[in-house]
Structure formats: structure tokens, C-alpha cells
């Protein structure tokens, strides 16, 4: 079971208290009627689904109830960082490099 850090509660809590909410930073278009069919399809269905460093939404559903974002390595299941909803997407490449450094430094 993963331990996940809730940036609102400021504590590590077991995975059971959370629910994953899919890929992060996919904003609902402000004016949906102005979108093309292709744009709306992409918003609804297209996800990067990477093998590796992935920014995704989590909700501390059985805790504070807040949605937040996390960067997780889908290969190792390791969380590289968490941040509050609305904060900018971190530099995933830099996070990956830092993680690599930590790995080899061990």
C-alpha cells in the first residue's frame, strides 16, 4: 500500500484514503461550444498514459476531501512530488533527473 502525502493536510496517509482521478492538467475548455469535435474528443478521451513520469490528479476522499496533483513514476510507483490544485505543472524532466540522481547516489 502506497503512502501518499496530502499537500492540504500536510501528512502522509495510506492509499486507502485516496482516489486517483486520472491525468492532471487537462482543463475543461472555458467555452466548450467553441471547440471543434476533435478538440472536444481530445478533452474527453485522449490521455498520454505514459510509462514513466506522470502528473495525475488525486483526491484525499476519505480525509480532507481535496483534489490535488501528484507526479508519480508509473514504473516504480514512486511519488516524486505533490502540489495543490491550481499550482503550475512542475518540470517533469527535471523531476525525473532528480529521481535518477537519488537512485544512483544510494
Amino acid at each position: 500500500m502506497l503512502l501518499i502525502h496530502c499537500p492540504y493536510c500536510g501528512v502522509d496517509r495510506p492509499e486507502l484514503e485516496f482516489r486517483c482521478g486520472g491525468e492532471a492538467h487537462i482543463a475543461r475548455p472555458l467555452h466548450p461550444s467553441a471547440t471543434t469535435d476533435e478538440e472536444w474528443e481530445a478533452f474527453l478521451y485522449l490521455r498520454t498514459n505514459v510509462k514513466g513520469i506522470y502528473a495525475e490528479r488525486w483526491r484525499h476522499i476519505h480525509g480532507c476531501g481535496r483534489f490535488f496533483n501528484a507526479v508519480r513514476d508509473t514504473v516504480s510507483d514512486k511519488f516524486l512530488t505533490v502540489y495543490k490544485a491550481g499550482e503550475p505543472k512542475p518540470d517533469l524532466d527535471a523531476l525525473a533527473r532528480d529521481a535518477q540522481k537519488g537512485e544512483t547516489g544510494k
Binding site: A27, P32, W40, K106
Partner: protein, 999 residues
């Protein structure tokens, strides 16, 4: 002497306490401290089971949890636990054990014919043989194979044992209590770190308990272990767990331990759980899992009496048992020589030490010579004889280009050693990648992926002195990494149990007819060297394919004993280096683990919570039937004496339409939406317009997802400008609430709105029928109930019988209706009051079945029944519920997608059977032709079907392609007994103009 193979003295058994037990009904004795395996061996019993596929007689191969052969059933309290390893089962008074996989008896097994027929059971025989005809698989092949192959029988009764569960945190978790584990625990504990030390065996000490002459700090190794464990146990910061297997290593140093508490006790305390699951989160983990000796792959290496050399030494030194009176030791490495020396020192005749190496170390040969032992070098075992126990072995001399016979040698036990394999299972589970270590001749842990380190033999560090030092270092490093603290701990010095040299992988050379003999690689799954070679010949070139084709390494030990030999055989056949063939991954659990420990307390009443409504007791008293709706128990129908369900539902329906009915609607989801932007929020979440809805009024709300499909519906009442009472479907409550939170938090954080789930806070009693007003009026204060002041789709706050209530005038039946919402604690009072009051008006209580019929009369949909996640408002005939002037709502853009506006969509229609008595089956397919040709796609399906007393006939709703344009046409419902003809109609079957609603 009842135990003819017991030594005179020595071992860690309690010689004063003699214990009786039975094996296959035969009475025997052993001692406290024995395992079932050691007690059987003390009684001279080697034959303990039949093999999985060929039913070959099998004996005890090991002394630990990796045992592949000696699987037994243990009877207790009238039931039987199958497939326990006799090497782990601790002896207690009255223990009843049975052998498995034999019929009718262990000594005489008719299934052994499989062995003679073995040419028909080659590798992959499942895949090759029983392919055709298809029906034969279910009826013939599978039952026969299942009966012939396999192990113990599952228990017949529910598990009556209790299982405990415990969460624990520690700085350093040490897994394994041999020399490396003990040293690691000592070093870590010295720093003050919180340490958990666990070991799967009954007694802590690991391999130290099997040592005969090695010393640590001048004490015999087992004595030093005992003192060290006592000292560790006295520390407040150390938890010692014997009989505790670390069976799973998960992410972030989460390790699952299974502690066995009562299986070893004759009459356990009923208040103690059988097993306890420890869910440990460790800052650092030290794996000190040791190494396993490898079997040698020579022909007929599976006879009872053939055992690993170190197991033989363990039985002697730890359990005081001689595995035979005349023992042949076959080896490729040094350590097995010590087994021969220890046995000889206890007066056991050593038939010979046959070492396949041409030049074993001189020192060992000198010791053997001093004891007068026969030594054969460059010599392998090429076969064995003996049916239920080995009687003799064939020896072969390795010469240039092959093997020549070196005669046979009589023996009643054969100890073998092909060298050692570090146990990397837990490291592998931690997702670390093993690397090949040429010096060790095995795979060892590579880079740590988690906060973990291996110590001692499990990483290829052998010999007592080196293992102890490796343990100390690992314990210190782990404690420092976990807590930052260090401490100086004096090292113990040891003498003896030195690291040996040697080892062999793969098959041994022999001079036998290779097509006629079996040399086993994986004992438990009956996989031979030939099978592995055959798999390669048949095109399996990846070790993962070879594993699955032959099943090698797929037994309960996950190949801990067999993997390296199998790999070498595959590598030889593929003519590739072993490391290029690769190792399969070890997975949880490390050893077989009970279902009970996983289910734990989540069984029976605790399996899934039951949610009860305020009328629950009333329904029980009245003998009403319950329906499960998610976790809710809802009243289904109330049959009176002599009524079946259909009669009861028909009566309930008629009474509701004639006078009045009472229904418990408490399960409906309820959400309080509050704030200055509450109306704006609902405007965006629901298809309908909300801003102009006046306080005191209600509206039907339809919720879509952004793809444009219906996901929920419910009536929403406006209590004030900034306050709405939202209802959802029973099943959708949690999801709707989560979806609202999602949009509110992540898409529209600027909206000033609070939402609160109130499903559990309100109890809801629904009164439906022309007399509903008369029934409720005497109890309501503060609300004018007249049709003018409180018309259909109204909401108001007042009191019911003096307690605050929210009263809705709404209807899910098409009749005049009220829904009384009160605080949950008043729910029973409201229900009891109204259920008594309706009797004065010839009313009924009714359940979900009648509710379904009454709403179907009116063509009201149920989300999840008429919809399935692909139905749009237009499909469901609900276009009227869409606020067309709204710039946006969830699903609006989705509805404009090409596929959703294209023709040919399935639309909700009513169906009337030509024969009014026939009630269609929900889910039945709808077709144009009565007998459509095979492969014709259906036009749609029946979503709801009932007998409607109001319509005086059967009614149905269906989703049918272009259904609304087919009104008046005849379609068919093909059923096994023939097609049922139906007419397509409007899906409203009763009171089409809604006059009764507004009464």
C-alpha cells in the same frame, strides 16, 4: 525403542516429553520441539506423499518452508487443512496428519499408473493433448485430470478460526534470524532504533540451530543464539516474532508478515486468533533470508530417503534424528562433507562420500580419512533403487567424454548437495533486479530500489564469521539510515562453519538410457530435465515461456529450489550463457499464505456494511421481503398470507392508485447545495435551468457527463435563493457527490458554493395516492397543503408531529404525492405514525417492486435501468429537460458530437405484447423478424417489463433503434420458446395528461 532413528542425545527437542500423533491413522510418538517431518523421520518414515503428476512415491527433501514433497493434511476440530508442509508443522499431542494425492493408500496408489504412462504426459501436455473435441474438455478431460493430478482436498466447512490484524511501524525490520539477522538486529538495537526481528521458524536462530560444533564467543552456536535472542527480547525497543513469515514486500517498505499463533498448540485458547497479519511500515529493512541448498539433478533423484545434505544435518543436530543408518553423501561442494562428518560422529554408517569434483579440498579428505570414511572423487550418482525408500545407488565415474559405471552402493538414505542458492525472493519482490555473481555462482541482489539491504547468505556471503560481520554492518547501516544514530557494538568472534567451495548447476552426466530415466528438476510440479529440454526443442526460448510450458518453478516454492538448475538446463539446450536466459520474477506470497489472514475480519457481517432504513424493523415484523440495493436493504414487497410476489405487488399497486400507499424513500441520495453561487453551480451541473426556479418550488434535474450521456437524475427543491435540496438516485449518491466536488474544486473554484452529503441525515417517507393529503394533513404544521398553495413540485419547511420537516409535493407514481424529510432520528416515528394512519384510509405500505411498476406506468425512467451510460436525453425522450438557452452545462458540448446527433440511435419506447398476459423478460433482445438469421444484430433490448394492474395488462419499455419512428409497428422478442410479437407504443401507459398528479 519406539523411535528407531532418534539419536541418543543432543538436539533441541524436549526428550522428557513424549508426544503421541498419528500419520494416516498409524500411531507414533515424537517429542516437543519436533516438526512432523522430524518425528516421522525419527520413526523411520520417509514415504510421506505421492507426486503431483506421476504419483511417484516421495519423501522429505528439506527441513524448511521450501519443502516440495512432504505436503500433508492436518485434521483439527473435524476439519482438515490441506497442503501443509510437514517440515513446518510443529508436533503437538494428538496431532492427526494424513498423506495426500494417493488412492486408496500411500503405499499402494493406483494413480501411479500415470508414471508408467509418462510418455503421454510430456511438457505442455495440457496444451497439446486435450484440444478436441471442445465438449470433451468439460466433460471428460478436465474432471479426469483434476481427479488424477493435484494435491490435498479443500476443507468442507467454513473456517471457524479467527484472524487478527495489526499495523506496526519500526525503524529497522530484520527478516530472518540466522547469524546475519541476529547480528543485524543486535547492531540496530544497540543504537536505540525500534527493531522488529521476524523469522518463519518456531524457534529463532536460523541456521545456527543446525550447527554441531561451530562456536561463537566460545559458546556452541545454538547456545550463543539462545542467549542473544534472550538479550534482544529484554530490550524495550525490540520486537521478536517467531513463527512469522515475511510473505510480501510491497512499495515504500510496506512488508506483510503472517504470524502463526495457535497451529502448534494441542488445545489453543479460543480467544487467541489462529494467525495475525502484521502490516509493517519500516524505515529500513534488512533481509537476512539465508540460502537454500540445491538438489542434484541425477536420474531417479526423487526416491524417499533422498534429501538435501544440510536438511540431513539439521535433522541430526537440531532434532536429534538420524535420517538413515547407512547414508550415502553425494555432493559437488564442501558443505555436504560436514553433514557426513556430523552423522559419522553420531555413529551413522557413511556408505560413501561421492564428490563429483576430481579434487575436493585436501583438508576435507584428511578429516574423512581420519574417520575412516570411503571417499569417491570425480564420482556422480547415476541412478537409485528402492520402491518406497532408497535401497541403493548407482555410482558413475566421470571420465573423458562421459561416465563409466563405478558399481552400486547400498544405503537407506542419500544426502545430496549441488551447492547453494541465495534466497533473493523478498529482494525481488521489493522490485530490485538480481545480478549474476560469478564468484558466488548464483544470482545475488543488485542495486536496492527501496530502503533495504540484504545481509549474509542471501547475498552470497557465506561462512559464519563473514555472515556475522555482514549482519552487523547491515544493522548499523540500516539504523543510521533510519534514525541517524550509531553505536559501537563489540563484535562476536566465531570459529567453524567456514564457507565452502564448489557447486553444480543443471543435469549431472550419467551412463543411463536418457530416454528411459527421469531426473527431476521441480519436484512439486513433477518437472524433469527432459521436460525442460523438450520445451526448448518445441520453440520456447524465453525462460518465462519455458516456465509456463513445463510449469517448472510454478509450485508453492516458486522455484526457490529448482530455478537455477532449470535455467542451466535451458541454457545448455539453447546453447546460450545462463545469464542470457534470465531469471523469472519472484512474487508475493513468499510461502503459501492462508485465505483467512487476508479475509481477516472482513467476513460474515463484516464483509460488507449493511445500510438499514428507519422502516427496517417494521418490514421485518410484517414479514416483508428485502431487496439489496447496493449496501441498502430496502423493502421489496409485503405479501399477505396466501399471496405470492405478483399478487402482493398487484394489490399494492391497486391500493396506491385507489387510496394511498406509504413507501420508505430514505435511501435516495441527498445533497445540500448552499451559497451565493448555488443556482449558478446547478445551472452548470444539470441540463435544466435553475436560476428562475422560485424558492419553494422543485424541478426534475437531469445530470449528464461531459460526453453527453445520462448519469443521474432526481428532484431538486429550492428552499431559498442560496439553498437547494438535491436528490439523487440511491445508487448514484456517492458518485454524484464526488462529481460535483470534482467540478467545484478543479474547474470552477471561483464559485462560492458549499455542498454537503445529507443522505444519512434525512429519513424520507413517501405518501402516494389520492388520499395522501388526508393522511398527512393532521400531522403537518406550518404548511398550507391545499392544491393552490402547495401545488405539484413544491417544497416547504414545517413540522411533522412537532419535529422539523422538509415537505415535498412530488410524485414518482403519477398520483398525488408527498415526501416527508425529517432528521434520521425521527424517521421511525414518522414511519410508525403514517403506517398506522394509512390503515384508517385502507392504505398499504409498499416496496420497491410496486414503486417500479407504478413509475413504469407513467414512463418514468430509472437511471441504470433504462440507461446504461450510452443513453442521451433525446434517446430517453427527455429533451424537454434541457435548458436550451444555457451557454453551457456539463454534457452540452458532448450532445453536439456527430455520433450523438446522427440518426439510427436507440430510443426509449413502450412495447405492448400482442398477448396482454405475457410479461417480457428484462434484457431480452428486440428484432424485426421473428426468426432472424444467425448473426443479425438486435434492434435494441427490453429495459423494463411488468404486469401493470392500472393498464390491466403487461407493459414494457425498450431501447430500440429509431424506435420513435416505429410506433404502431410490430417487432419481435426472440426467446428460447419462440418469438413474442410486440407493438411499439408511446412509453406512457397511464394518465397521459397527468390529471391525477395535480389532484
Amino acid at each position: 525403542m519406539s523411535q528407531p532413528f532418534r539419536t541418543e542425545k543432543g538436539g533441541r527437542i524436549d526428550r522428557a516429553a513424549e508426544i503421541s500423533f498419528t500419520f494416516d491413522g498409524e500411531g507414533m510418538t515424537g517429542h516437543g520441539g519436533d516438526t512432523l517431518a522430524s518425528a516421522l523421520l525419527a520413526n523411520g518414515v520417509h514415504l510421506v506423499g505421492r507426486s503431483f503428476k506421476y504419483h511417484r512415491p516421495r519423501g522429505i527433501l528439506t527441513a524448511g518452508s521450501e519443502e516440495p514433497n512432504a505436503l500433508v493434511g492436518i485434521y483439527r476440530n473435524g476439519d482438515q487443512t490441506p497442503n501443509l508442509r510437514a517440515t513446518q508443522v510443529e508436533l503437538y499431542g494428538g496431532l492427526e496428519a494424513i498423506s495426500q494425492n494417493r488412492f486408496p493408500a500411500l503405499g499402494l496408489d493406483v494413480g501411479a499408473v500415470n508414471d508408467l504412462m509418462s510418455p503421454f504426459f510430456p511438457a505442455g501436455f495440457y496444451y497439446k493433448t486435450f484440444k478436441w473435441p471442445k465438449a470433451f474438455w468439460d466433460r471428460v478431460y478436465e474432471p479426469v485430470i483434476r481427479a488424477a493430478a493435484g494435491l490435498g482436498k479443500p476443507p468442507k466447512n467454513p473456517d471457524h478460526d479467527r484472524y487478527g490484524n495489526l499495523y506496526a511501524h519500526c525503524d529497522v525490520l530484520v527478516i530472518g534470524s540466522g547469524p546475519a539477522g541476529l547480528a543485524a538486529a543486535l547492531a540496530a538495537a544497540e543504537t536505540g532504533a525500534r527493531v522488529i526481528l521476524c523469522d518463519e521458524q518456531a524457534e529463532l536462530g536460523g541456521s545456527l540451530l543446525s550447527e554441531g560444533s561451530a562456536t561463537i564467543d566460545g559458546k556452541l552456536a545454538p547456545d550463543w543464539a539462545g542467549e542473544t535472542i534472550a538479550a534482544l527480547g529484554a530490550k524495550d525497543n525490540v520486537t521478536l516474532l517467531a513463527r512469522t513469515t515475511a510473505f510480501g514486500y510491497f512499495a515504500q517498505n510496506f512488508v506483510a508478515l503472517a504470524e502463526r499463533l495457535t497451529d502448534h498448540i494441542s488445545e489453543p485458547d479460543p480467544n487467541v486468533p489462529r494467525e495475525r497479519l502484521w502490516q509493517v511500515r519500516a524505515r529500513e529493512v534488512v533481509i537476512a533470508a539465508g540460502a537454500l541448498e540445491r538438489p542434484m539433478v541425477f536420474p531417479e533423484n526423487d526416491r524417499p530417503g533422498i534429501m538435501l545434505a544440510d536438511a540431513g544435518r539439521t535433522y541430526l543436530n537440531r532434532y536429534g534424528v538420524k535420517v538413515g543408518h547407512k547414508v550415502l553423501v553425494a555432493t559437488a561442494c564442501d558443505t555436504a562433507w560436514q553433514a557426513a562428518f556430523d552423522l559419522a560422529d553420531h555413529g551413522v554408517e557413511i556408505a560413501a562420500i561421492a564428490d563429483m569434483r576430481p579434487n575436493p579440498p585436501d583438508a576435507l579428505q584428511a578429516i574423512a580419512q581420519a574417520r575412516g570414511l570411503r571417499v569417491e572423487t570425480g564420482c556422480v550418482v547415476t541412478g537409485t533403487n528402492g520402491r518406497k525408500r532408497v535401497k541403493s545407488a548407482l555410482l558413475g565415474r566421470i571420465v573423458e567424454g562421459g561416465v563409466t559405471s563405478a558399481g552400486d552402493v547400498a544405503c537407506d538414505a542419500l544426502l545430496m548437495s549441488g551447492g547453494w542458492t541465495p534466497t533473493v525472493s523478498l529482494y525481488s519482490q521489493s522490485r530490485g533486479k538480481v545480478v549474476w555473481d560469478e564468484a558466488v555462482g548464483a544470482f545475488v541482489p543488485g542495486v536496492s530500489v527501496q530502503n533495504e539491504r540484504s545481509a549474509g547468505a542471501c547475498r552470497g556471503v557465506y561462512g559464519l564469521a563473514a555472515t556475522l560481520e555482514d549482519g552487523y554492518a547491515a544493522g548499523e547501516a540500516a539504523a543510521k539510515a533510519a534514525t541517524g544514530k550509531t553505536a559501537a557494538l563489540a563484535r562476536a568472534s566465531s570459529n567453524g562453519a567456514d564457507a565452502g567451495t564448489g557447486g553444480v548447476l543443471g543435469t549431472l552426466p550419467h551412463d543411463r538410457n536418457a530416454s528411459k530415466v527421469k531426473a527431476f528438476v521441480d519436484y512439486q510440479n513433477d518437472v524433469t530435465a527432459k521436460d525442460v529440454k523438450l520445451a526448448v526443442r518445441e520453440g520456447m526460448h524465453s525462460i518465462e515461456h519455458i516456465k509456463r510450458y513445463t510449469t517448472t518453478g510454478m509450485a508453492t516454492d516458486q522455484g526457490r529450489l529448482s530455478n537455477l538448475n532449470a535455467l542451466q538446463i535451458a541454457a545448455d539446450a539453447l546453447e546460450k550463457p545462463l545469464i542470457d536466459v534470465g531469471l523469472t520474477t519472484f512474487r508475493q506470497p513468499y510461502t503459501p499464505t492462508t485465505f483467512g489472514i487476508f479475509a481477516n475480519v472482513s467476513r460474515g457481517d463484516f464483509f460488507d456494511p449493511v445500510r438499514k432504513t428507519p422502516s427496517h424493523g417494521f418490514v421485518e415484523e410484517k414479514g416483508g421481503a428485502f431487496e439489496d440495493v447496493g449496501q441498502w436493504k430496502r423493502a421489496w414487497y409485503f405479501a399477505e398470507s396466501g399471496e405470492d410476489m405478483h399478487a402482493a405487488v398487484a394489490r399494492e399497486c391497486e391500493v396506491v392508485r385507489k387510496s394511498v400507499g406509504l413507501f420508505d424513500a430514505s435511501t435516495l441520495g441527498k445533497i445540500e447545495v448552499v451559497g451565493p453561487d448555488a443556482a449558478e453551480f446547478l445551472e452548470r451541473m444539470y441540463t435544466n435551468p435553475w436560476k428562475k426556479l422560485a424558492p419553494g418550488r422543485c424541478r426534475y434535474g437531469l445530470m449528464l457527463n461531459d460526453a453527453g450521456f445520462i448519469i443521474d437524475d432526481g428532484v431538486i427543491g429550492r428552499l431559498a435563493d442560496d439553498r437547494f435540496h438535491v436528490t439523487t438516485t440511491t445508487g448514484g449518491a456517492a458518485h454524484v457527490f464526488a462529481t460535483m466536488e470534482d467540478y467545484l474544486q478543479t474547474e470552477w473554484p471561483d464559485l462560492d458554493v458549499w455542498i454537503t452529503s445529507t443522505t444519512e441525515q434525512y429519513a424520507v417517507a413517501a405518501l402516494q395516492g389520492p388520499k395522501a393529503r388526508e393522511v398527512i394533513a393532521p400531522y403537518i404544521d406550518g404548511i398550507d397543503l391545499s392544491a393552490e398553495a402547495f401545488p405539484h413540485m413544491s417544497v416547504a419547511t414545517g413540522t411533522f408531529n412537532g419535529v422539523p420537516c422538509r415537505l415535498f409535493r412530488i410524485s414518482f407514481t403519477g398520483e398525488l404525492g408527498f415526501e416527508v424529510n425529517v432528521h434520521r432520528r425521527h424517521g421511525k416515528m414518522v414511519w410508525d405514525t403514517l403506517s398506522t394512519e394509512i390503515e384508517k384510509h385502507d392504505g398499504v405500505v409498499y416496496g420497491t417492486e410496486t414503486m417500479h411498476v407504478l413509475r413504469a406506468d407513467k414512463g418514468y425512467i430509472i437511471v441504470g435501468q433504462e440507461t446504461d451510460g450510452t443513453v442521451t436525453p433525446d434517446d430517453a425522450g427527455l429533451t424537454w429537460a434541457i435548458g436550451k438557452k444555457k451557454p453551457d452545462f456539463v454534457g452540452k458540448r458532448g450532445l453536439a458530437r456527430p455520433d450523438l446527433v446522427a440518426g439510427g440511435r436507440k430510443q426509449l419506447v413502450g412495447l405492448l405484447t400482442k398477448d396482454p398476459k405475457i410479461v417480457l423478460e428484462e434484457g431480452a433482445q428486440v428484432t424485426k423478424l421473428a426468426k432472424p438469421p444467425a448473426g443479425t444484430p438486435a434492434e435494441g433490448h427490453v429495459t423494463s417489463a411488468y404486469f401493470s394492474p392500472a393498464a390491466g395488462r403487461s407493459i414494457a419499455m425498450a431501447l430500440v433503434k429509431d424506435g420513435r419512428s416505429l410506433k404502431g409497428e410490430t417487432l419481435n422478442i426472440p426467446m428460447p420458446a419462440g418469438a413474442i410479437a410486440v407493438e411499439v407504443v408511446d412509453p406512457v401507459f397511464y394518465d397521459k395528461d397527468g390529471a391525477r398528479l395535480n389532484g
